[in-house]
């Protein structure tokens, strides 16, 4: 179940930022990805919410700028840790 969250998050980012799969890992941050700009950040948040059926709050929506953080916050929203 936990592996699922990590895999899904990475897949969503690969699709949103249109990069090859090896470019997104658990260490990736917004600084590492050229297409991770403010526009695509919004799309990423919305896509993650749609994928997991959750809603991030305002602060989380802006502050999740690394894959690691996204996975952690998302697991929290799903009640998994």
């Amino acid at each position: 179940m936990n592996m699922d969250v990590q895999e899904k998050v990475i897949q969503v980012l690969i699709n949103i930022f249109q990069v090859s799969p090896d470019k997104i890992t658990t260490e990736t941050t917004s600084d590492n990805v050229e297409n991770w700009d403010s526009m695509n950040h919004i799309s990423m948040i919305l896509a993650l919410e749609q994928e997991f059926g959750i809603s991030y709050d305002e602060e989380q929506a802006v502050s999740m700028l690394s894959v690691g953080e996204i996975i952690e916050v998302t697991k929290g929203k799903l009640g998994l840790q």
């Binding site: 897949q11 969503v12 699709n15 949103i16 403010s38 526009m39 695509n40 919004i42 799309s43 948040i45 919305l46 896509a47 749609q50 994928e51 709050d57 305002e58 929506a61 802006v62």
Partner: protein
């Protein structure tokens, strides 16, 4: 029916593999809408285009129209642009008109309105200097919370009434240009509900007002216009009959047994038929494609008191036992309409999957007869047939089709069908009937009319007698495929006498006709006969009004004119696309 963004992006990966014609879309906006891009690309792809989307500068609509450069340093609009989408949210243009209406004195209100209309006109003039692209101007959103509450609709000078007048004034300006359309967002909001339409977080954070679902619906709606203008709107609707036009199966349930009524459980089908009649009047060709005996279908049309569809509404039909992909092709040739203008509706996943695979250009809709209450909404919400013209020719179109004559010769089943049947992973199991299967076997003898060689009706007691009698063998066939376990769908009763096995009964449920299962069954029956060491299998055919399709069955399988097969020298093979044919 709405795909998630992830699913859409998966689909879009195919685009680069196909050499599709390009379609240039420019998005001019005073809000953040970049997230709409994959949706635009997806609907373009479905329409056979590869969309190239350029987004104008934030809140720079007029400048973009005068040759402004986008983020990629290329002009947002060029003479090659095919379509311009305008998102001008009133909030940013005129806060007073949008949110502070009650503070406005009449004079100020009039000057705000004038300023807005002037902006609209200048924008369109600038656009037309650059290109002749179709312009879809997304309309004013009605205030969610009315400034005067329930009083709003009662006063002619209220905000809502003023904005409605503004809409009319905008449309008046649009009419002075060609191909400029007012796209009412209210339709989109109605489809998914106001609570799902807006995302307030991102509106405050980055002026992005719409949710992903909203952007999906907006893009889908925009493409109704684009498709209509490109002549890509669908022109023909092919309809299955059983469980699509009425509840139940006419060949089994009879005209009194099918469900079709204005009130009550047959109402879903009734309302669906009314929508079909409406489509007919709009110039859409309605065609029937049903696995049935023709007389049975026409009996419903002619005799059922609640039938709304009439023969005169039907532009073409193929009612037979052939495969539906071949039939749809024939209808396409008969009507002289391309398959890419076709929509096909059926309740059987077997049929819809087959048509999707063999005729990928056809838009296929699968319906669930247990949810017939949704049929009207399903057909009404697609927008596939939307066109921007409506003339007398549309009203008469079906008569024009009917005036042409010509039926095509039966085509041989193609290899594509066999490939499809192989993918079904059909597993057929034939067993000797036992206590548990008596009820179902008896039921089949009583209800099966079409694929039934002798139509002998037996009770459970009769079947039990056959089982207990040494000179009889009762066999049943059950089917499993990738759709699930269909259970017992065929029965055979053999009578042994001397060196001959007579086939007293050979039948198949009409649900599984057309897949070659009868051949697999017959091959097992011959095995059963061999077990009894007989030399001859004797078939029997008793014609009725409903079973003409099997009149040639035995001779097709190699039986002679007297319907005899010498099984010492001959066999019947099960078709190769079966995953398994098991005789227990």
């Amino acid at each position: 029916m709405n795909l998630s963004l992830s699913e859409i992006q998966q689909e879009l990966k195919q685009v680069s593999n196909r050499k599709l014609q390009g379609y240039r879309i420019a998005v001019l906006r005073n809000i953040t809408v970049e997230s709409i891009i994959p949706y635009l690309q997806y609907y373009a792809f479905k329409s056979g285009f590869e969309a190239n989307v350029s987004v104008g500068n934030y809140d720079n609509i007029l400048q973009d129209c005068h040759g402004g450069l986008g983020a990629d340093n290329k002009p947002v609009l060029t003479s090659e642009t095919d379509c311009i989408l305008i998102f001008l949210k009133l909030e940013d243009f005129s806060w007073s008109l949008a949110r502070d209406f009650l503070s406005l004195r009449t004079e100020k209100r009039e000057s705000e309105i004038e300023g807005f209309l002037d902006y609209v006109e200048r924008t369109l003039q600038a656009i037309r200097k650059q290109c002749s692209a179709v312009v879809l101007w997304h309309g004013l959103e009605t205030p969610i919370y009315k400034s005067l509450g329930i009083l709003e609709d009662q006063l002619p000078d209220s905000q809502t009434c003023t904005l409605k007048r503004l809409e009319v004034q905008m449309k008046e300006i649009f009419s002075r240009f060609t191909n400029v359309f007012y796209v009412d967002l209210a339709d989109c909001i109605t489809q998914i509900g106001i609570n799902s339409f807006y995302d307030n977080r991102f509106w405050y954070l980055s002026a992005a007002p719409y949710s992903l679902d909203a952007l999906n619906v907006i893009a889908k709606n925009d493409f109704k216009y684009i498709n209509a203008l490109n002549g890509n709107n669908k022109k023909c609707l092919v309809l299955d009959c059983d469980n699509t036009l009425w509840g139940g199966i006419i060949g089994e349930d009879g005209i009194d047994g099918i469900k079709l009524s204005k009130h009550g459980p047959g109402g879903g089908f009734y309302d669906f038929q009314q929508e079909l009649v409406n489509l007919h009047h709009r110039g859409v060709a309605l065609a029937l494609c049903s696995k049935n005996n023709e007389e049975d279908v026409w009996e419903v049309f002619d005799m059922h008191p609640e039938m709304l569809l009439m023969r005169e509404h039907i532009a073409a039909y193929e009612i037979n036992w052939e495969d539906k992909a071949g039939n749809i092709k024939k209808i396409s040739e008969f009507l002289n309409l391309g398959l890419d203008s076709f929509v096909f509706i059926d309740d059987s996943p077997f049929e819809t999957d087959m048509v999707r695979e063999i005729l990928p250009q056809v838009e296929v809709i699968l319906v669930d007869p247990k949810q017939s209450f949704d049929y009207r909404q399903i057909i009404g919400s697609t927008g596939y047939f939307d066109s921007l013209l409506y003339s007398d020719t549309d009203r008469q179109r079906t008569k024009l089709y009917q005036a042409e004559s010509g039926r095509r010769k039966l085509q041989k089943r193609s290899d594509c069908i066999d490939e499809f049947l192989e993918k079904l992973e059909m597993e057929v199991t034939v067993k000797f009937a036992d206590e548990k299967s008596i009820q179902r076997v008896a039921q089949l003898t009583q209800r099966t009319n079409q694929f039934n060689l002798t139509t002998k009706r037996y009770s459970e007691a009769d079947i039990k007698k056959f089982i207990d009698n040494d000179t009889y063998d009762v066999l049943y066939l059950s089917l499993k495929d990738k759709y699930g376990d269909a259970g017992i769908v065929g029965a055979v009763i053999l009578q042994f006498s001397g060196n001959t096995a007579g086939i007293d009964t050979f039948l198949l449920s009409c649900r599984v006709i057309g897949r070659g299962i009868e051949n697999a069954f017959l091959s097992c029956v011959i095995e059963a006969a061999r077990l009894r060491k007989v030399e001859i299998v004797q078939g029997e055919y008793l014609p009725t009004s409903k079973n003409q399709q099997v009149s040639g069955f035995y001779s097709r399988c190699g039986f002679d004119k007297k319907l005899r097969l010498d099984i010492m020298d001959n066999s019947v093979d099960a078709p190769s696309y079966f995953r398994g044919v098991i005789f227990d």
